[in-house]
């Protein structure tokens, strides 16, 4: 895993969570859309939050596809689930919502899951060579 690849994973996480929040805020500003006025859905794109949200979700899809081109699905999905944690932190510190104890436990579980998966190799069959010899027992080093 290189720094650039971690940046792509961060892009997946940030674009998905911020994009979803912007869409949610924008659609609340737009209000209810009835089935009789489906053209309102198209006009909803004129709302700045909705437009920016759609742009970010396109960015999410591009970075998600990029990540899947060099990492396993079972690595990318848990590694990018930090977005849920981010949304909770935004809710607590930016929107000043009350965050219950069970939600904080959820945040802890997700963070632990991310910790577990990112310790392992990102891709099956093509494990990255360790950058340093620190994980290698001395007896395994070539003499």
């Amino acid at each position: 895993m290189t720094f650039r690849k971690y940046l792509v994973l961060a892009g997946v996480t940030l674009c998905a969570s911020i994009g979803d929040s912007l869409l949610s805020r924008g659609m609340k500003q737009v209000g209810n859309i009835s089935l009789d006025h489906l053209s309102d859905v198209i006009l909803a794109v004129l709302n700045p939050s909705v437009a920016l949200g759609i742009l970010l979700l396109l960015g999410f899809f591009a970075s998600y596809m990029t990540a899947l081109s060099w990492a396993d699905l079972t690595y990318v999905l848990p590694a990018t689930s930090l977005g849920y944690v981010l949304l909770t932190l935004i809710a607590k510190f930016y929107l000043h919502e009350a965050v219950t104890t069970s939600r904080w436990i959820g945040v802890l579980l997700i963070s632990a899951g991310v910790g577990f998966v990112t310790q392992g190799p990102a891709l099956t069959h093509h494990p990255e060579k360790p950058h340093k010899a620190e994980y290698e027992p001395a007896s395994a080093r070539p003499r």
Binding site: S69, D72, L73, S81, Y84, G106, Q119, T124, H125
Partner: protein, 126 residues
Amino acid sequence: MMQAYAWSAITAIVLASTTGDILLSRAMKQVGDVGALWRQSGLWTVLGRVLRNPNFLLGVLAMTTAFYSLLFGLSWGDVSLIAPASASLTFITNAVAAKIFLHERVDHRRWMAAVLVAGGVVLLAA
């Protein structure tokens, strides 16, 4: 009765989005490292190769099915059940499907990660 509708929607969402993730992942492995390909042959080559990949197109179709199943589900059931239940179950089904269909090495670390994240998502919605 509404519960049965909600759970059939959840089943449809989970099946469709797992199919989509598996197909998209397979497509991108066939395309190869996007960053390296971009530097080598440019953005248009990357886009052409991704958009012409049959697995990619089928994957997008499956993701679209998942999205519409979610919309239908939300009109029948409670958002606080359907959204977290389907998101959480998808982490588990993806781990199983990736092991079977993509032959990924899902070791204890990855199982733990899938289960912890799935549990965490449920708690966040509680």
